[in-house]
Amino acid sequence: MKTLADLKKIREKAQEEMKLRGGNTRIKIVVGMGTSGIAMGAREVMKTFLEEIANRNLTDVLVTQTGEKGLSSMEPVVDVIEEGKPKVTYGNMTPDKVKKVVVEHVVNGRTVSDYVVATGN
Protein backbone atom coordinates (compact mmCIF):
# COMPACT_ATOMS: atom_id res chain seq x y z
CA MET A 1 0.00 0.00 0.00
CA LYS A 2 1.29 3.45 -0.92
CA THR A 3 1.71 5.83 2.01
CA LEU A 4 2.63 9.47 2.49
CA ALA A 5 6.05 8.29 3.72
CA ASP A 6 6.76 7.14 0.15
CA LEU A 7 6.11 10.69 -1.00
CA LYS A 8 8.63 12.04 1.46
CA LYS A 9 11.29 9.85 -0.14
CA ILE A 10 10.25 11.03 -3.61
CA ARG A 11 10.44 14.65 -2.47
CA GLU A 12 13.95 14.21 -1.08
CA LYS A 13 15.13 12.53 -4.27
CA ALA A 14 13.56 15.21 -6.48
CA GLN A 15 15.03 18.01 -4.39
CA GLU A 16 18.50 16.52 -4.74
CA GLU A 17 18.06 16.39 -8.51
CA MET A 18 16.82 19.94 -8.68
CA LYS A 19 19.87 21.15 -6.77
CA LEU A 20 22.00 19.62 -9.51
CA ARG A 21 20.18 20.79 -12.63
CA GLY A 22 17.89 23.60 -11.43
CA GLY A 23 14.12 23.21 -11.17
CA ASN A 24 13.11 24.56 -14.56
CA THR A 25 10.42 23.13 -16.78
CA ARG A 26 11.95 22.83 -20.22
CA ILE A 27 8.88 21.82 -22.16
CA LYS A 28 5.14 22.00 -21.55
CA ILE A 29 2.59 19.68 -23.13
CA VAL A 30 -1.10 20.56 -23.16
CA VAL A 31 -3.62 17.86 -24.08
CA GLY A 32 -7.04 19.06 -25.33
CA MET A 33 -9.67 17.39 -23.18
CA GLY A 34 -12.95 18.77 -24.50
CA THR A 35 -15.94 16.53 -25.20
CA SER A 36 -14.91 15.73 -28.78
CA GLY A 37 -11.28 15.19 -27.79
CA ILE A 38 -12.35 12.73 -25.08
CA ALA A 39 -14.63 10.90 -27.52
CA MET A 40 -11.71 10.60 -29.97
CA GLY A 41 -9.22 9.14 -27.47
CA ALA A 42 -7.64 12.07 -25.60
CA ARG A 43 -7.63 10.11 -22.33
CA GLU A 44 -5.34 7.48 -23.86
CA VAL A 45 -3.16 10.22 -25.35
CA MET A 46 -2.79 11.85 -21.92
CA LYS A 47 -2.07 8.49 -20.30
CA THR A 48 0.62 7.68 -22.88
CA PHE A 49 2.40 11.00 -22.25
CA LEU A 50 2.40 10.28 -18.51
CA GLU A 51 3.66 6.73 -19.07
CA GLU A 52 6.46 7.90 -21.34
CA ILE A 53 7.53 10.58 -18.86
CA ALA A 54 7.62 8.02 -16.06
CA ASN A 55 9.40 5.34 -18.14
CA ARG A 56 11.98 7.71 -19.58
CA ASN A 57 12.37 9.55 -16.29
CA LEU A 58 11.82 12.97 -17.88
CA THR A 59 11.95 15.38 -14.94
CA ASP A 60 11.69 18.67 -16.82
CA VAL A 61 8.42 18.12 -18.70
CA LEU A 62 5.01 19.35 -17.57
CA VAL A 63 1.74 17.88 -18.88
CA THR A 64 -1.63 19.53 -18.37
CA GLN A 65 -5.16 19.20 -19.74
CA THR A 66 -7.30 21.92 -21.25
CA GLY A 67 -10.71 22.31 -22.91
CA GLU A 68 -11.48 22.47 -26.62
CA LYS A 69 -9.96 25.05 -28.91
CA GLY A 70 -12.00 24.77 -32.07
CA LEU A 71 -10.02 22.04 -33.82
CA SER A 72 -12.70 19.38 -33.33
CA SER A 73 -12.05 17.65 -36.66
CA MET A 74 -8.42 17.02 -35.66
CA GLU A 75 -8.94 15.73 -32.14
CA PRO A 76 -7.16 14.61 -30.07
CA VAL A 77 -5.05 17.76 -30.21
CA VAL A 78 -1.82 18.38 -28.29
CA ASP A 79 0.24 21.57 -27.88
CA VAL A 80 3.98 21.37 -27.28
CA ILE A 81 5.33 24.60 -25.84
CA GLU A 82 9.02 25.40 -25.41
CA GLU A 83 10.35 28.69 -24.17
CA GLY A 84 11.58 30.94 -26.95
CA LYS A 85 10.06 28.77 -29.69
CA PRO A 86 6.71 28.97 -31.49
CA LYS A 87 4.04 26.64 -30.11
CA VAL A 88 3.60 23.40 -32.09
CA THR A 89 0.13 21.84 -32.30
CA TYR A 90 -0.17 18.16 -33.17
CA GLY A 91 -3.50 16.71 -34.33
CA ASN A 92 -5.23 13.34 -34.76
CA MET A 93 -3.04 11.97 -32.02
CA THR A 94 -2.88 8.33 -30.95
CA PRO A 95 -0.78 6.58 -28.28
CA ASP A 96 1.73 5.50 -30.98
CA LYS A 97 2.06 9.04 -32.30
CA VAL A 98 2.55 10.27 -28.73
CA LYS A 99 5.49 7.88 -28.31
CA LYS A 100 7.05 9.24 -31.49
CA VAL A 101 6.52 12.86 -30.41
CA VAL A 102 8.14 12.11 -27.04
CA VAL A 103 11.23 10.55 -28.63
CA GLU A 104 11.61 12.99 -31.52
CA HIS A 105 10.36 16.28 -30.17
CA VAL A 106 10.53 16.16 -26.37
CA VAL A 107 13.79 14.21 -26.07
CA ASN A 108 15.63 15.10 -29.30
CA GLY A 109 14.15 18.50 -30.08
CA ARG A 110 12.98 17.69 -33.62
CA THR A 111 9.39 18.57 -34.55
CA VAL A 112 7.46 15.62 -36.06
CA SER A 113 6.19 17.57 -39.06
CA ASP A 114 3.86 14.79 -40.30
CA TYR A 115 1.59 15.25 -37.28
CA VAL A 116 1.69 19.06 -37.05
CA VAL A 117 -1.63 20.81 -37.69
CA ALA A 118 -0.68 24.34 -36.61
CA THR A 119 2.29 26.36 -35.38
CA GLY A 120 2.63 29.67 -33.60
CA ASN A 121 -0.05 31.17 -31.38
Binding site: R43, A54, Q65, G67
Partner: protein, 189 residues
Amino acid sequence: MQDISLHLLDIIENSVRANARNIKVRVIRNVQKNRLRIIVDDDGVGMDSHTIEMAQNPFYTSKADREKKVGLGIPLFKQNAELSNGCFKMASEPGFGTVLTVDFELDHIDRMPLGNLKDTLLGAIIGHPEVDFYINLSTKDKGVEQSFHFDTAAIKEELGGIPLTYPDVIEYIDQSLFEGIQNTNMEDV
Protein backbone atom coordinates in the same frame (compact mmCIF):
# COMPACT_ATOMS: atom_id res chain seq x y z
CA MET B 1 -18.51 8.06 -25.37
CA GLN B 2 -17.84 4.38 -24.80
CA ASP B 3 -17.83 4.21 -21.04
CA ILE B 4 -18.96 6.01 -17.91
CA SER B 5 -15.50 7.16 -16.90
CA LEU B 6 -15.12 9.06 -20.19
CA HIS B 7 -18.30 10.94 -19.27
CA LEU B 8 -16.83 11.49 -15.82
CA LEU B 9 -13.71 12.99 -17.39
CA ASP B 10 -15.88 15.31 -19.49
CA ILE B 11 -17.80 16.45 -16.40
CA ILE B 12 -14.56 17.06 -14.47
CA GLU B 13 -13.39 19.28 -17.36
CA ASN B 14 -16.66 21.23 -17.03
CA SER B 15 -15.94 21.78 -13.33
CA VAL B 16 -12.41 22.96 -14.11
CA ARG B 17 -13.73 25.39 -16.71
CA ALA B 18 -16.16 26.70 -14.08
CA ASN B 19 -13.05 27.64 -12.05
CA ALA B 20 -13.49 24.94 -9.42
CA ARG B 21 -10.58 24.66 -6.98
CA ASN B 22 -11.96 21.59 -5.19
CA ILE B 23 -13.65 18.71 -6.97
CA LYS B 24 -15.11 15.76 -5.11
CA VAL B 25 -15.67 12.62 -7.15
CA ARG B 26 -17.61 9.72 -5.69
CA VAL B 27 -18.31 6.40 -7.34
CA ILE B 28 -20.66 4.20 -5.35
CA ARG B 29 -21.55 0.70 -6.42
CA ASN B 30 -24.42 -0.64 -4.36
CA VAL B 31 -25.21 -4.24 -5.27
CA GLN B 32 -28.32 -4.55 -3.03
CA LYS B 33 -29.84 -1.43 -4.50
CA ASN B 34 -28.68 -2.51 -7.97
CA ARG B 35 -27.28 0.95 -8.49
CA LEU B 36 -24.09 2.56 -9.73
CA ARG B 37 -23.95 6.19 -8.66
CA ILE B 38 -21.50 8.87 -9.80
CA ILE B 39 -21.36 12.17 -7.91
CA VAL B 40 -19.25 15.14 -8.97
CA ASP B 41 -19.36 18.02 -6.51
CA ASP B 42 -17.42 21.19 -7.30
CA ASP B 43 -16.94 24.68 -5.88
CA GLY B 44 -16.94 26.38 -9.30
CA VAL B 45 -18.98 29.40 -10.33
CA GLY B 46 -22.28 27.47 -10.39
CA MET B 47 -25.32 27.99 -12.59
CA ASP B 48 -28.74 29.58 -12.24
CA SER B 49 -31.85 27.46 -12.81
CA HIS B 50 -32.18 28.63 -16.43
CA THR B 51 -28.59 27.61 -17.26
CA ILE B 52 -29.04 24.21 -15.57
CA GLU B 53 -31.99 23.56 -17.84
CA MET B 54 -30.19 24.84 -20.94
CA ALA B 55 -27.11 22.73 -20.21
CA GLN B 56 -29.21 19.61 -20.81
CA ASN B 57 -30.09 20.84 -24.29
CA PRO B 58 -27.67 19.64 -27.00
CA PHE B 59 -28.03 22.93 -28.88
CA TYR B 60 -26.73 25.01 -26.03
CA THR B 61 -23.13 25.78 -25.11
CA SER B 62 -21.60 28.13 -22.54
CA LYS B 63 -18.69 28.71 -24.93
CA ALA B 64 -19.32 32.12 -26.49
CA ASP B 65 -16.65 31.68 -29.18
CA ARG B 66 -18.17 28.51 -30.58
CA GLU B 67 -19.45 28.97 -34.10
CA LYS B 68 -21.95 26.13 -34.02
CA LYS B 69 -24.02 26.21 -30.87
CA VAL B 70 -23.60 22.62 -29.84
CA GLY B 71 -22.82 21.16 -26.42
CA LEU B 72 -23.16 17.40 -26.24
CA GLY B 73 -21.33 16.47 -23.03
CA ILE B 74 -24.18 16.72 -20.54
CA PRO B 75 -27.03 15.64 -22.88
CA LEU B 76 -25.16 12.46 -23.85
CA PHE B 77 -24.37 11.56 -20.24
CA LYS B 78 -28.00 12.10 -19.31
CA GLN B 79 -29.20 10.01 -22.24
CA ASN B 80 -26.88 7.14 -21.37
CA ALA B 81 -28.04 7.16 -17.74
CA GLU B 82 -31.70 7.17 -18.73
CA LEU B 83 -31.16 4.36 -21.25
CA SER B 84 -30.13 2.11 -18.37
CA ASN B 85 -33.15 3.00 -16.26
CA GLY B 86 -31.08 5.50 -14.28
CA CYS B 87 -31.39 9.21 -13.70
CA PHE B 88 -29.41 12.39 -14.05
CA LYS B 89 -29.64 15.29 -11.59
CA MET B 90 -27.86 18.60 -11.50
CA ALA B 91 -28.12 21.00 -8.58
CA SER B 92 -26.40 24.35 -8.62
CA GLU B 93 -26.54 27.92 -7.41
CA PRO B 94 -24.47 30.81 -8.78
CA GLY B 95 -21.50 31.22 -6.45
CA PHE B 96 -22.07 27.91 -4.68
CA GLY B 97 -20.76 25.31 -7.09
CA THR B 98 -22.50 22.42 -8.77
CA VAL B 99 -23.42 18.90 -7.69
CA LEU B 100 -24.10 16.35 -10.36
CA THR B 101 -25.57 12.97 -9.44
CA VAL B 102 -25.92 10.28 -12.09
CA ASP B 103 -27.43 6.88 -11.38
CA PHE B 104 -27.26 3.77 -13.51
CA GLU B 105 -29.08 0.49 -12.94
CA LEU B 106 -26.17 -1.80 -12.18
CA ASP B 107 -27.28 -4.93 -14.02
CA HIS B 108 -29.18 -3.21 -16.85
CA ILE B 109 -28.30 -4.70 -20.23
CA ASP B 110 -27.83 -1.23 -21.75
CA ARG B 111 -25.63 0.16 -19.00
CA MET B 112 -22.25 1.19 -20.37
CA PRO B 113 -19.21 -0.17 -18.50
CA LEU B 114 -17.51 2.01 -15.92
CA GLY B 115 -14.37 1.80 -18.04
CA ASN B 116 -10.86 2.87 -17.18
CA LEU B 117 -11.42 4.86 -14.01
CA LYS B 118 -7.72 4.81 -13.14
CA ASP B 119 -6.47 6.57 -16.28
CA THR B 120 -9.39 9.00 -16.13
CA LEU B 121 -8.57 10.09 -12.58
CA LEU B 122 -4.79 10.01 -13.14
CA GLY B 123 -5.06 12.35 -16.14
CA ALA B 124 -7.45 14.72 -14.38
CA ILE B 125 -5.35 14.91 -11.20
CA ILE B 126 -2.01 15.45 -12.95
CA GLY B 127 -3.47 17.55 -15.77
CA HIS B 128 -4.98 20.03 -13.30
CA PRO B 129 -2.40 20.61 -10.57
CA GLU B 130 -4.23 23.78 -9.51
CA VAL B 131 -7.31 21.76 -8.50
CA ASP B 132 -7.58 19.60 -5.40
CA PHE B 133 -9.39 16.34 -5.93
CA TYR B 134 -11.14 14.27 -3.28
CA ILE B 135 -11.80 10.82 -4.66
CA ASN B 136 -14.05 8.37 -2.88
CA LEU B 137 -14.82 4.93 -4.29
CA SER B 138 -17.04 2.50 -2.48
CA THR B 139 -18.64 -0.86 -3.08
CA LYS B 140 -21.49 -2.09 -0.92
CA ASP B 141 -22.26 -5.76 -1.29
CA LYS B 142 -23.91 -8.24 1.13
CA GLY B 143 -23.79 -5.73 3.96
CA VAL B 144 -20.03 -5.16 3.57
CA GLU B 145 -18.65 -1.83 2.46
CA GLN B 146 -15.18 -1.43 0.98
CA SER B 147 -14.05 2.09 0.36
CA PHE B 148 -11.08 4.05 -0.90
CA HIS B 149 -10.25 7.71 -0.30
CA PHE B 150 -7.69 9.71 -2.17
CA ASP B 151 -7.00 13.34 -1.36
CA THR B 152 -4.60 15.24 -3.61
CA ALA B 153 -4.24 18.22 -1.24
CA ALA B 154 -2.40 16.02 1.26
CA ILE B 155 -0.13 14.73 -1.50
CA LYS B 156 0.73 18.20 -2.76
CA GLU B 157 1.51 19.33 0.78
CA GLU B 158 3.87 16.39 1.28
CA LEU B 159 5.56 17.08 -2.07
CA GLY B 160 6.29 20.74 -1.35
CA GLY B 161 7.12 22.28 -4.72
CA ILE B 162 7.74 19.01 -6.62
CA PRO B 163 5.39 18.94 -9.64
CA LEU B 164 2.82 16.17 -10.07
CA THR B 165 4.42 15.34 -13.44
CA TYR B 166 7.63 14.25 -11.70
CA PRO B 167 8.10 10.61 -12.89
CA ASP B 168 8.00 8.99 -9.43
CA VAL B 169 4.93 11.02 -8.50
CA ILE B 170 3.09 9.84 -11.62
CA GLU B 171 3.89 6.27 -10.61
CA TYR B 172 2.85 6.90 -7.02
CA ILE B 173 -0.57 8.29 -8.00
CA ASP B 174 -1.06 5.60 -10.66
CA GLN B 175 -0.25 2.83 -8.19
CA SER B 176 -2.42 4.32 -5.42
CA LEU B 177 -5.42 4.57 -7.73
CA PHE B 178 -4.77 1.05 -9.03
CA GLU B 179 -4.80 -0.37 -5.49
CA GLY B 180 -7.87 1.64 -4.52
CA ILE B 181 -9.79 0.46 -7.58
CA GLN B 182 -8.81 -3.15 -6.91
CA ASN B 183 -9.67 -2.97 -3.21
CA THR B 184 -13.14 -1.66 -4.00
CA ASN B 185 -13.70 -4.12 -6.88
CA MET B 186 -14.17 -1.33 -9.42
CA GLU B 187 -11.81 -2.66 -12.08
CA ASP B 188 -14.39 -4.60 -14.03
CA VAL B 189 -17.73 -2.91 -13.38
